[in-house]
Symmetry: C2
Subunit: 185 residues, 2 copies
């Protein structure tokens, strides 16, 4: 079984985690998030206040690209996703992208200001994530179109065949996104 | 869609939560844990430091009855479980039980000292929970036999047909369990 391991990416602060998964005759068990071990390896002590889960009935369901003003620790409870990120923060790395396939043995820390998205690769995929601020209804945050040509995310399932919300179909292209300013401290 | 609602039980501090589940063409979305709303309704502000997930390949996988010295916020990411609890704390309610079926629309707060267990009712069930202290390898905590006759949990799938770990098969009966003392403050 693999050791817990953290990997940095081209997007500053976006960290890919490789999780040990203990298999036995019943199935498997994983520490999906473990504050002490992960902070010890360099993960920010992000202090989650909310755990969201989304169920995707069919392969191809695609959500994003969403930039909320909080950090996200994203993972998969069952199934697999193709996950992609676009840096939407003011600065030199605005527009930088990263993508990775996420099964139950991977988790990703997505810092505030980085656009988050995923496409379900299997029917019945459940995506589970922790965030460190509370979502409130009626607030709009910067979002980017899944089909943006400058980000050019290589979606495994063509977007024309994907299940996408009305809201996400209406998201603007990168040139029309207002970069996210750093958090006031 | 149901409103978020908390329900008390015969075990002091054991709280059953009914969660709103937003359905749409992609699948569903839920706030599985939401600190502000839930604390506002009376849930302890328990401060999770670890998120565990267990995958149960087959209907009948049964785990428990485990009492660790920390609180648990238990839920299901996909599938269904029959979940049961036995109060293992010193005092008047030692031995009190509660059980409920848990699908994606239910979560349960299990206070420190209450034995936790579940039986998967569907193949591929994923159980996800948050805890407020870190598990350490090699530590043994009070556990109760799933077949204990005084607790008499009405498992939907007979234990003789269930997938159970070697460790759980060796757990003692209630008369041989040392009640858990209150946390030193
Ligand atoms: C994010 C969020 C949503 N909701 C509700 C609003 C809708 O009724 C429903 C689905 O919301 P969407 O915004 O359509 O969710 P989705 O497209 O899945 O995007 C979410 O998942 C990917 C994440 O990047 C992003 O934070 C989040 O918006 O859930 C809540 O009740 N609480 C929440 O925290
Ligand atoms: C609880 C726990 C376990 N593990 C490892 C040890 C084993 O290799 C594997 C499975 O552990 P078990 O103790 O067999 O898990 P399980 O029988 O599923 O019980 C767990 O789920 C139900 C919970 O009530 C209980 O806290 C927990 O022990 O995972 C970890 O790495 N971290 C943990 O936090």
């Amino acid at each position: 079984m693999a050791e817990l391991r953290l990997e940095t990416t081209a997007i500053p602060g976006l960290v890919v985690l490789h999780l040990p998964v203990h298999e036995d005759s019943r199935g498997w068990f994983k520490e999906n998030w473990q504050r002490e071990k992960m902070v010890g390896l360099g993960l920010p002590d992000f202090g989650p206040v909310q755990n969201n889960m989304s169920f995707n009935a069919h392969r191809g369901a695609t959500r994003g690209i969403h930039t909320e003003p909080w950090d996200k620790f994203v993972s998969v409870a069952t199934g697999r996703v193709f996950a992609a990120w676009v840096d939407m923060r003011e600065g030199e790395t605005f527009g930088a992208t990263h993508h990775v396939e996420v099964g139950p043995d991977v988790a990703v820390f997505v810092p505030r200001g980085v656009g988050n998205s995923y496409q379900a690769l299997e029917d019945g995929t459940v995506y589970s994530y922790l965030v460190n601020d509370h979502w409130r209804p009626g607030q709009a945050y910067p979002a980017l179109n899944l089909a943006d040509e400058s980000a050019a995310i290589p979606w495994p399932i063509p977007l024309a065949e994907a299940e996408i919300s009305e809201k996400d179909l209406a998201n603007p292209v990168l040139a029309d996104v207002t970069p996210m300013a750093p958090k006031k401290t």
